[in-house]
Amino acid sequence: MPKYELVLLKNMMQPGYTGSLKDYEQAGGYQALRNTLGKIAPTDVTGTVMKSGLRGRGGAGFPTGVKWGFLPKDYQGPRYLCCNADESEPGTFKDRQLMERDPHQLLEGIVLACYAIGAASAYIYIRGEMVLGSKILEHAIGEARAAGYIGNNILGTGVTVDVWVHRGAGAYICGEETALLESLEGKRGLPRVKPPFPATHGLYNKPTVVNNVETLANLPHILNRGPEWFAGIGSPPKSTGTRVFCVSGHVKRPGNYELPMGVTVRELVYEHAGGMRSDKPLKAFIPGGASAPFLTPDHLDVKLDFESVAAAGSMLGSGGVTVMEEGTSMVWAALRLMEFFYHESCGKCSPCREGSSWLVQTMRRIIAKRGQMQDLETLTDLCKNIAGRTVCAFGDAEVSPIMSTLKHWRHEYVTLIHEAEAANLIRPESTGARH
């Protein structure tokens, strides 16, 4: 197995490392903060991050420095940083590890980001279910505040940054940045129409940056070791740095593996995650969380970077790789994800709200062997009328399991329908559009 240098998971992989302030400082923590605040101009910090090529690790992969640069330069009022810790994408569980095992790494990143964008307040919007994570973060904030890394006049530099943990209450959509802001304002987590973007009209209508946990955790390392170092890792020039890949499903050792971007799926699955858990070959995988279209064994040598995965017809998204072995019903797998999206649709846009219900009903009918051939056209038609017709990307995400399984495993749908016809199980009520 090739050896790679760990960056984000390095500290926590050391025996006895607890994630306490003392441990973090001993590992060189808060050096970036000491060397940056008051010593490097905020615009230069943004410039460094731009030069590093760091792209958002939450899913969309937007260049972080560029996002920061969108904030109005001359605005005098308050600005906000929101750390998106609402990790809810099925297949993704990296942020939880980063928060629970090395909370100060994230806090240092948050303070650095606040300094760069001129924000005095940061909110960590953590998914409500992660009670332990929120307690660990609150404890770490207390430690950092006592040590002068958070609060008024940080280390005597005159910089003020306050950080608070805000627990969500169970809604996948709140990982979408504008829905997160609505939720943080005490409302239903419904995405906002963009533009205006959060950079100008964000939290409380003020300039705001929303960054993912893993994105922020990278900042201390970029500032310590320089943008060239970071830009030299992975698949430059567009996919730089490492990525914490989450591997789940039918592998021997599911878990998080930090590797340079551009590692192949084959290496990730067969070398790092120990290969398939049984002797059955790999049948399908999702390369970037539930929103990413399924891929086949033909794509095992696809590099896990933004461009290569996109070229293969999917997306790197949140870095969640889910593996399925031979024998898994792809219609069933698509239905399971569809049920997730149906449950989590916020209801704001009709195509998504109504469409997800129709998709689930039609899929359930096919699985129950009460489907017919025209259902496949119905599914395709529904997907085409949902994707791209909603306020946020949820609509595109929810059609990806069905569209991709229909593309690669259409025969499985057809087989189920043929079985339904052979068994003469089609009931009158299932032939129309009735639900």
Partner: protein, 178 residues
């Protein structure tokens, strides 16, 4: 009344936000902690505290799955049923739970001890199948583990099998040293 009992905590929550309404979810959690679920009376009181209309509080409270608007058992068991957990056996765990507790998802045992819910993704796919009981995660579930957890909860109200911080991939350290 929440205001009388938790004045300091409420003030602390309010102090974190420049706009009062942001304190809504934290205050709903406070109400839920007090009574096990969120009553209409507490929603009305919170509306008064934040200068909102009761319907503004209801519209937020009804959106989120973790805010219980009706009573749940002392132990709220939420088993993940999403694809990643289902691939490695969450349906078996739910089936086992149903047999052991004699209730279906969405129901509460007659002694009021356990409520069973099948939920969507809890972001612990690498340690699937998993479930959450009240504030705690329980991961890499097997039928034996489920039996022990239920017995522990009945006997002592807690279980040593609950997860701490994120679990490492099994045997990964051994492999890396090799």
């Amino acid at each position: 009344m929440l205001r009388d009992k938790y004045r300091a905590e409420i003030d602390d929550i309010l102090s974190r936000y420049p706009v009062k309404r942001s304190a809504l979810i934290p205050l709903l959690y406070l109400a839920q902690r007090e009574q096990g679920y969120i009553t209409e009376a507490s929603m009305t009181e919170i509306a008064g505290l934040l200068r909102l209309t009761p319907s503004q509080v209801y519209e937020t409270a009804t959106f989120y799955t973790m805010l219980n608007l009706k009573k749940v058992g002392k132990f709220h068991i939420q088993v993940c049923k999403s694809l990643m957990c289902a691939l490695v056996g969450s349906d078996t765990v739910i089936g086992w739970m149903k047999t052991k507790l004699g209730i279906a998802p969405g129901e509460t045992t007659t002694d009021g001890l356990f409520t069973l819910t099948a939920v969507e993704c809890l972001a612990a796919c690498g340690t699937a199948p998993m479930m959450q009981i009240n504030d705690d995660y329980y991961e890499r579930l097997t039928e034996e583990k489920v039996d022990r957890i239920l017995a522990d909860l009945k006997a002592t109200g807690t279980s040593a099998l609950k997860s701490g911080p994120y679990l490492w991939p099994e045997s990964v350290t051994v492999k890396r040293e090799a």
